[in-house]
Amino acid sequence: MMSLRDLVACHWSARRIQRYLDADPSAILPPQEITRLEAHLAVCERCSQLTAEHRALRRALESWSGAVTPDEASLTRLRSVVDELSRQDRS
């Protein structure tokens, strides 16, 4: 059975795992929190499993076939629009 201290540590960690994995510049974890989280993940199977699931989900979403992606012909036409706007200013 988990102690109250372990429960608190897991709760604290679970709230930071996504920010830790994202490392987004808007919400970087402070270095001391990263150290604390990594220390917890090294010894907690439950939080380590949660982290693995988030990593797997992120990989799956990155390569998801349902993503709508641009085609080269559209990009070429849009580059022409940029060219045209730039030319207008020069003339």
């Binding site: 996504q18 920010r19 994202d22 490392a23 987004d24 510049p25 808007s26 919400a27 499993q49 693995a52 699931e53 988030h54 797997a56 989900l57 992120r58 990989r59 799956a60 979403l61 990155e62 390569s63 998801w64 076939s65 349902g66 993503a67 709508v68 992606t69 641009p70 085609d71 080269e72 012909a73 559209s74 990009l75 036409r77 849009l78 580059r79 629009v81 940029v82 706007l85 730039s86 030319r87 200013d89 020069r90």
Partner: protein, 199 residues
């Protein structure tokens, strides 16, 4: 491409600057816009769900960006451009709910995308085979506002700040919606599907 390396926008109001000479102005426009065209188009596709509409939206957005160039302070061009795309889209489609993307039926395009450049590793191939259909269903079940942030950040690889600029919502709202969307999908897919070798 990764939007995560970009700094977040510092504010919503661009700083006014004196008009640049035409040549400099044209060069500045090209310098700011060309590197962002692909991400702008991906976001426009997510917003509209249809390729012709996405191109129309971007053409209009580019014209507006060019007109607004003198009021742009030169920082965070991607967030600036995505904000213009959002405003243009709202003007063109006033009935769309704010903070959401196109209807699911338009978004969930199962066809292999022309021009897509995705080098699948062996691991990705396994993941695709096991997860892809379940992932599709799980994303479909999300409410539009949760689906929007998940697609922009995790599928289209925008940063929190860029997704916030695209949807017109605060960064904190992006983070909370993203967290809940991921948790819902993670629970829906289950441990065995996501991490079969571990559990």
């Amino acid at each position: 491409m990764s939007g995560k390396r970009d700094e977040p926008p510092s504010g919503s109001d661009p700083v006014s600057q004196p008009s640049a000479p035409p040549d400099t102005r044209a060069e500045a426009f090209r310098e700011h816009v060309e590197p962002e065209l692909e991400v702008m188009l991906r976001v426009a596709l997510s917003l509209t769900g249809r390729r012709p509409d996405a191109e129309d939206l971007l053409q209009e957005s580019l014209v507006r960006a060019y007109k607004a160039l003198d009021r742009f302070d030169g920082r965070h061009p991607r967030a600036w451009l995505l904000t213009i795309v959002r405003h243009t889209h709202l003007n063109m489609h006033r009935r769309q709910r704010p903070g959401t993307l196109a209807d699911w039926d338009a978004l969930g395009d199962p066809r292999p995308a022309f021009g897509a450049n995705r080098q699948a590793s062996a691991e990705d191939t396994v993941l695709d085979g096991t997860l892809d259909n379940q992932l599709h269903d799980a994303i479909r079940e999300l409410s539009p506002k949760f689906r929007a942030v998940l697609i922009l950040v995790d599928v289209q690889d925008l940063s929190y700040a860029e997704a916030a600029a695209t949807l017109g919502i605060p960064v904190g709202t992006v983070m909370s919606r993203l967290s809940r969307a991921r948790d819902r999908i993670r629970r829906r897919l289950g441990v065995q599907t996501l991490t079969p070798g571990r559990s």
